[in-house]
Subunit: 232 residues, 2 copies
Amino acid sequence: MTRRRPIRAVVLLSGGLDSTTCLAAAVAAGREVHGLSVDYGQRHRGELRRARALARLLGAASHRVVKVDLSAFGGSALTDAAIAVPKGRSPRAMGHDIPVTYVPARNTVMLSLALAHAEVIGAEEIHVGVNAVDYSGYPDCRPEFIEAMEEAVRLGTKVGVEGHPIRIETPLIDMTKADIIRHGLGLGVPYEMTWSCYEGGAEPCHECDSCRLREAAWESLHMGDPLNVREP
Amino acid sequence: MTRRRPIRAVVLLSGGLDSTTCLAAAVAAGREVHGLSVDYGQRHRGELRRARALARLLGAASHRVVKVDLSAFGGSALTDAAIAVPKGRSPRAMGHDIPVTYVPARNTVMLSLALAHAEVIGAEEIHVGVNAVDYSGYPDCRPEFIEAMEEAVRLGTKVGVEGHPIRIETPLIDMTKADIIRHGLGLGVPYEMTWSCYEGGAEPCHECDSCRLREAAWESLHMGDPLNVREP
């Protein structure tokens, strides 16, 4: 009797709430998970340290950080020190326009790097924790973008041409942030270790869109965010 | 009377024969050209130095080198010192299989970086010198891949969502390498400054697929490659 190897998946892991849940879900689904974090010159690089620890803790088979210098282009509050991160917007007001925290082509770049990694290690899947519900106005978090990328991946790769295209899985795409947390809690995700704040501080700023969305989600669950619980 | 600014184009420039011709053609077509070279950990990094000089000489408005460490993934003879560059294949034998010089997801990564740059500087076009005729077996040089990427670019960008998608132009896609050289000679491309060899030597190796394709093209034109002409 031959034993097939498990399906191999590259999971994009920022160390935030969504991608960490995505990684935990892939492990729970029996995937051999290879975490990939992208150091793109973001302010909040502390998330990369957390990503490494989370990948290990959650049972990834490997974890890698790849560097690409998107800050060389500027144009986003997340990579350009000259552009301020917007503060104090209500979650209700987000999503109507594309904010300055949008990093040009970030998900296109990240998916292409995940693809490079997937091709080399022979992974069948790429998992990415984008969600279109609480998507905060980023066009590259929408399902139609993901589908178009999946088609490009099929046509532009050796494995795709050979009839075994790499699939792009977005298990969180229709979930609200509250759904994601509920799902992750069931999987034992240590949310106290995840990081969502766009700023590079030692504590979350509680004012940027990402902090606001995260806090609104925990509030809607009538729970406290474990990241904010400090030993007395 | 208002004067419209010229169409702004990001041109991917490796410093090789195709991309240099592509850049010269974009300048000749009246584009405001912003050259972009990608340092992806290739053996033949001398091409980046040449790219910078060529961009200046051919009239680009700017030129930028962005670093992304694809060598961290390995898997290609162009980035992994442990994989030898194949030597002595005839141009006729190429294109039947995907060679080890294929860099996983290279064009996907490069197009995504060109896209990031294009979004930030407000460019309407990305020009890339891929060609499907002498394509040497790379799936990400085919028109159907480029079309799929263009669709992803339309759906995944702020400008695309707003109805002004960035176009991906592939002016060389149906040209043979001999056609490209003929076209470039008419545009005054200094081919003696371009570099095609996959190896990182001081002189072309004359044995890798890229050298062989280049030499076959000059021979078919009954011309000598000016790169090989040395002062006596």
